[in-house]
């Protein structure tokens, strides 16, 4: 029996068009979002733009998720400050120790760059004045960063597509066509070699460090060339990206072993399966999709999404090789076999994708109004196109390939090859968009305000070795918000057994207003809607119960201004 004639490859011009279209699409949707970062600074102590009466011993930053410090710099009136120790991260808080500062008035700036739990960089700076209100300088642009973002996105797309292709190829060899080999000329060649899976695995293994290095460059906020610097690698290896890369490389190594042992049967099949699972597992430990709350749901969904996507994407290479090299009946049998499994796989893929979308987007209104939502929409168009192609393949081409007349079979083979090529192209777009989604802040992180209004008045008090930073906002007659940052003698957050606040203005004969603040984070307490009826100097007393018999009493004075103009 002779094999079917090989389909001519798609002319190079067609590929070029796709690439150009992709680049255009990407550039259009991407540009306005380049400057956005990931995790969000929820609050800081002292607050940005605040005036403090006494120099603080340290700076505290609280984010909406756990962070790892990368680079922290502080500047005072006399230039850069030498920090006495490294910044300490615990949960979602970061403490930056400051050297002893003089009590003379002056502005201070602390710039920070951290990586969030999903491995993305967050940078910003904090301005405060000791005994003075700091003036805000013009925001400096970050150069080179945009280029790094584009390069990182491209590297991530390459990483995703090659990893999915390698893992999916392994899955195909293990599940759909174990031990398949076809005659090419005089020799027999295993399907893995015909589908160039070894090249794919090698490419995937190269894409891992490339992606890692460029992510590092992005993390430290430098140009793509920073991937050659040790700082970039230190930054990325300290984030979840390092773990993910290690997992990916071990999965790929197993896949390589599996491909090499493919002809030996069960052992090879198991190695391929395990390698594919581990390689996809790499996707579940990093990125904002896998770290979205609740993580017990998000990470498995990412794994399922990745695994099913790999099954589909990774099958395309082997399928093309089968259509080109396999005898007609064998090709029809394998295509049908794949097609059977694919229905369920695609169903799971869609379910997992829908679940992840719901976790990230949180509100249908945000699809049109955020960059993330727009990327998502374009990706969905690509997905719809893919599903359309898959439906045509399954309902018309595959049955014809199996049961049609000889001429119809040959036509079906050609069309199927074309369709698979088209699928590869659309899938490239979809993966690129997935990489873009991975570098764009999802709407769930945009729910909370990024920048809080500057605090009107700050004061620091100590009692029993403990420290309380007291912020009043806007420190005017009317409704105010009081925020307390409490710290133990060692600087760790202090969560008292009981906490109450009393405000009084003895000069005006105002008896103490007693309130209980609510906890909004480790050592952070807040009192909203605190109405202060009079301007002037208010005395505040904070009672923090250390244990049943001991309490720390913090006292401070707060200056409250007249009713300000409405904002």
């Amino acid at each position: 029996m002779t094999g079917l004639p090989a389909t001519p490859p798609l002319p190079p011009a067609g590929r070029g068009d796709w690439a150009r279209l992709l680049a255009l699409l990407l550039a259009l949707v991407l540009l306005p979002t380049l400057a956005q970062a990931h995790a969000v600074l929820m609050e800081s102590s002292p607050a940005d733009g605040a005036r403090v009466e006494r120099p603080p011993a340290d700076i505290r930053l609280r984010f909406n998720e756990p962070v790892t410090p990368v680079a922290i710099h502080a500047f005072g009136p006399g230039g850069a400050l030498v920090l006495p120790g490294p910044a300490v991260a615990s949960d979602d808080a970061l403490r930056v120790p400051l050297p002893p500062l003089p009590a003379t008035p002056g502005p201070y700036t602390v710039s920070y760059r951290v990586t969030s739990g999903d491995g993305h960089p967050v940078a910003g700076s904090l301005l405060f004045g000791v005994g003075m209100t700091p003036e805000r300088p013009e925001q400096a642009e970050e150069r080179g960063r945009n280029l790094a973002l584009l390069a990182a996105m491209a590297a991530r797309a390459l990483h995703y597509s090659s990893l999915l292709a390698a893992a999916g190829g392994g899955l195909f060899l293990a599940l759909v066509a174990p031990g398949a080999a076809f005659r090419t000329g005089r020799d027999w060649a295993p399907l893995g070699r015909l589908a160039r899976l070894r090249v794919t695995v090698a490419l995937a293994a190269l894409a891992v460090p490339l992606n890692l290095g460029l992510t590092g460059a992005l993390l430290i906020g430098e140009s793509p060339l920073a991937l050659l610097t040790p700082e970039a690698w230190r930054a990325v290896l300290a984030s979840t990206g390092g773990t993910s890369a290690a997992i990916a490389l071990s999965g790929l190594a197993l896949l390589a072993v599996g491909l090499w042992r493919n002809r030996t049967g069960v052992g090879g099949t198991l190695t391929l399966l395990l390698g594919a699972l581990i390689a996809i597992g790499a996707l579940t430990v990093t990125g904002h999709a896998a770290t979205a709350p609740p993580s017990w749901l998000a990470a498995p969904l990412v794994g399922l999404h990745g695994l099913t996507a790999a099954f589909w994407l990774g099958a395309l290479g082997p399928l093309r090789a089968i259509l080109r090299h396999a005898p007609a009946l064998e090709a029809a049998r394998l295509v049908r076999r794949f097609s059977h499994g694919a229905v369920w796989v695609v169903a799971l893929l869609i379910v997992a994708g829908a679940g992840l979308s719901a976790l990230q987007i949180t509100d249908p209104d945000r699809i049109g109004s955020t960059a993330y939502g727009q990327f998502w929409l374009v990706k969905m168009i690509g997905v719809a196109l893919l599903l359309g192609l898959a439906t045509v393949n399954r309902l018309w081409l595959t049955p014809t390939l199996e049961n049609g007349a000889r001429a119809a079979r040959e036509r079906a083979n050609r069309l199927l090859s074309l369709s698979v090529t088209l699928e590869v192209a659309v899938m490239g777009l979809v993966v690129l968009l997935t990489a873009a989604l991975g570098t764009t802040p999802p709407p769930r992180t945009l729910v909370k305000p990024v920048i809080e209004a500057p605090v009107g008045y700050s004061s620091v008090a100590t009692a029993k070795g403990r420290q309380a930073v007291i912020d009043l906002d806007p420190a005017r007659v009317g409704a105010n918000r009081l925020t307390l940052h409490l710290a133990q003698p060692d600087g760790a957050p202090f969560d008292p057994k009981e906490l109450s606040v009393e405000l009084s203005q003895p000069a005006a004969g105002i008896e103490p207003l007693s309130r209980r603040p609510t906890r909004s984070g480790p050592g952070v307490y807040r009192l909203d809607g605190l109405t202060l009826p009079l301007a002037g100097r208010w005395d505040i007393r904070v009672d923090a119960l250390i244990d049943d018999f001991e309490k720390a009493i913090f006292r401070a004075s707060l200056t409250v201004g007249e009713q300000g103009p409405d904002k």
């Binding site: 009692a463 119960l545 049943d548 018999f549 001991e550 309490k551 009493i553 006292r555």
Partner: protein, 178 residues
């Protein structure tokens, strides 16, 4: 005509002041009956409970023994369960040639019921530390009620005294050794 001497005036003022303070003192706060005692003496601490927590009946009295106060012996009370907690002393002390490193750090009477309208006393005996005259020993007391709790644990900060607080800790001031 009798001209009041300055001393008499001062005495009258002091009397008026104490008259003004004492009833309030007895009814408003948890206090120690004996306000002064010689340094290093054995002291009978009588904690006076004049009311509950905002009208709610008292159900437990817990006393933290301050640093330096040793050889604590609480007095049992009918209708109340007496328990003590032992722990290490921050600074060991010498007693009859022996070094004592641990002892009672907390005394608790629980399970009773003292209505807001009634008065009661909770007693323990202890040896006061040997410190200069004028040293004030604060004895933090937690009064637990059916509803709510009063923490008589506020120790005046420098420049303030017990009257500046809503829930001051009961105290005894050391006098010179006789």
């Amino acid at each position: 005509m009798i001209r009041p001497t300055r001393a008499a005036l001062a005495a009258a003022g002091l009397l008026a002041l104490s008259a003004a303070i004492l009833p309030a003192d007895a009814s408003a706060h948890a206090t120690l009956e004996t306000k002064q005692a010689p340094s290093g003496s054995y002291y009978k601490a009588v904690i006076r409970i004049g009311h509950g927590c905002d009208g709610s009946a008292t159900t437990a009295i817990r006393v933290r023994i301050p640093e330096g106060v040793v050889s604590v012996k609480p007095m049992p009370k009918i209708g109340w369960t007496l328990t003590t907690t032992e722990g290490p002393y921050a600074t060991p002390y010498e007693s009859h040639g022996k070094t004592i490193t641990k002892g009672v750090t907390e005394v608790t009477w629980t399970g009773g019921n003292l209505p807001d309208a009634w008065y009661d006393e909770f007693v323990f005996q202890a040896k006061l530390p040997e410190k200069p005259a004028g040293t004030v020993i604060y004895v933090p007391v937690v009064q637990e009620c059916e509803k709510g709790v009063n923490r008589w644990i506020e120790i005046p900060e420098p420049g303030k005294d017990a009257h500046d607080y809503k829930e001051p800790a009961p105290s005894v001031t050391l006098t010179a050794k006789p």
